[in-house]
Structures are given as structure tokens and as C-alpha cells.
């Protein structure tokens, strides 16, 4: 399997929208969409935990070509905190409860639209990485915070 591509992000967006999934790009994949220049391997989406959204996510993933067992479908519908999918056309992490963000609705209210892609606000991406407190995040946080400041300044100048 090759690197995640823009076309696949579009496929996620199309399938999720078609099925009415409430979601946001989060993590470095979200930051990259906002303009943060860095490398990453993983696409992460923050998905709202609700029975309706869980069913919609499972349907959208099947549309995308992910092979889900009944048990896996039930786990997604139930909304386990973190689901790592490598059983489809690309790798995708579903995050129902990212560290550092209290409620999906709060993040949704702050979200940014990037050419139709719903993306977490840089403050939420930073909050989740800071709360995760992993070595890999600690390294990238100073640069990500500098990007957040740059991004906000550019927005206020427009």
C-alpha cells in the first residue's frame, strides 16, 4: 500500500458526506490540510460518538471498500475510543475521544473548512497532541504552535 493521497481524502469526504457522518480531520493530517508543512503517515479522523453516527461511519467505510466483520462493525457503531483500520484501500484511524478535546460538538463549532474538508481548528490539533504527551508529538509541537500563530495572523489579515 502506498502513501495516503489527496484523492483518498476526497473519497473519505464524499463517502462520509453521502452517509451523513459527522467528522473532522485531526492530527497531523488535519494540520497538513490547513497548510502545516510536515511529513506524516497516518490519516486520522475525529468522529462524533452517537448511535446514528456509528452506523453512518460503518456504512461509509463499507462504501469505501473496508472489510469489516460483524464484530468490528459493532465496535465502530458503539464508538470505541480508538479504532485503527488497515483492512481497506488505505489506512485510517478513527478517533472517537481524542485526548485534550472534551466534546465533538465543541470542536465542530471551531472547525475550519478547507476546500470542503472539515478540519479541526489548529488549537484543537495542538490540544490533542499536547494532551497525548508522546515523544513524537513533543518534538513537533513547537513548530506546530508557531504554525498556529502564523495561520491565525494570516486569517486576520484577509
Amino acid at each position: 500500500m502506498g502513501a495516503f493521497e489527496y484523492r483518498q481524502a476526497q473519497e473519505i469526504n464524499d463517502a462520509f458526506n453521502r452517509n451523513g457522518v459527522r467528522y473532522l480531520f485531526i492530527g497531523k493530517s488535519g494540520a497538513v490540510l490547513l497548510g502545516f508543512p510536515d511529513t506524516t503517515q497516518d490519516a486520522h479522523v475525529f468522529v462524533e460518538r452517537s448511535p446514528a453516527n456509528g452506523s453512518a461511519i460503518a456504512a461509509a467505510l463499507r462504501d469505501l471498500g473496508f472489510s469489516l466483520t460483524q464484530e468490528q462493525t459493532a465496535e465502530i457503531e458503539r464508538g470505541k475510543d480508538f479504532v485503527q483500520l488497515k483492512n481497506g484501500p488505505f489506512d485510517l484511524d478513527l478517533v472517537f475521544a481524542p485526548d485534550g478535546i472534551e466534546r465533538f460538538e465543541d470542536a465542530w463549532q471551531r472547525h475550519v473548512d478547507v476546500e470542503g474538508f472539515p478540519v479541526c481548528h489548529p488549537d484543537d490539533i495542538i490540544a490533542s497532541k499536547a494532551a497525548a504527551n508522546r515523544a513524537r508529538d513533543r518534538e513537533s509541537l513547537p513548530r506546530l504552535k508557531a504554525f498556529r500563530d502564523y495561520w491565525i495572523k494570516q486569517k486576520t489579515m484577509r
Partner: protein, 80 residues
């Protein structure tokens, strides 16, 4: 004051890193989201992590602990 000067003020740390970062942010801002993703996403094999087609965790704490117990430390998934 022009945009670049304003932005340099934000990057109050006067290190060479800050200037380099600013130049990188400005270059990325000129790219389309498609180009940004093309430059950003890479694929390398991650031991253990890439060896299962599906994993799920009841809590993020469970996931973090699993990473610390099972992944090579050099992958950087362990907490500081």
C-alpha cells in the same frame, strides 16, 4: 507593516529555526491542499503497528499503554 514583518513578530524566538519555519509556512501557504498532501504523506513500514489489519481500544489510555508495551520506543509512540 507588511505581512512578513508582522509574522516575524509572532515568531518571537529569534532563532534561525523561526525564520526557517516562517519561510516553510509561506511556501506551504502557496500550495493547494492537494500539493500539501502530496508532499506530506509518506509510507514506511512500522513494526508491530502495521502487522494487524484492525485494532480497537476501549479508551485512549488503553491505546497509549498498548503502544508503550508493544511498539519499539524509537517509533515515538510512548508518552514522555
Amino acid at each position: 507593516m507588511n505581512n512578513q514583518a508582522d509574522t516575524i513578530e509572532i515568531l518571537t524566538d529569534a532563532s534561525s529555526d523561526s525564520q526557517e519555519w516562517l519561510e516553510e509556512f509561506e511556501a506551504a501557504a502557496r500550495r493547494t491542499p492537494e500539493m500539501r498532501m502530496r508532499y506530506a504523506f509518506i509510507k514506511t513500514y512500522k513494526p508491530v503497528l502495521d502487522d494487524a489489519t484492525y485494532r480497537s481500544f476501549d479508551s485512549m489510555e488503553d491505546y497509549r499503554r498498548w503502544c508503550e508495551d508493544n511498539l519499539p520506543s524509537w517509533l515515538g509512540y510512548g508518552r514522555v
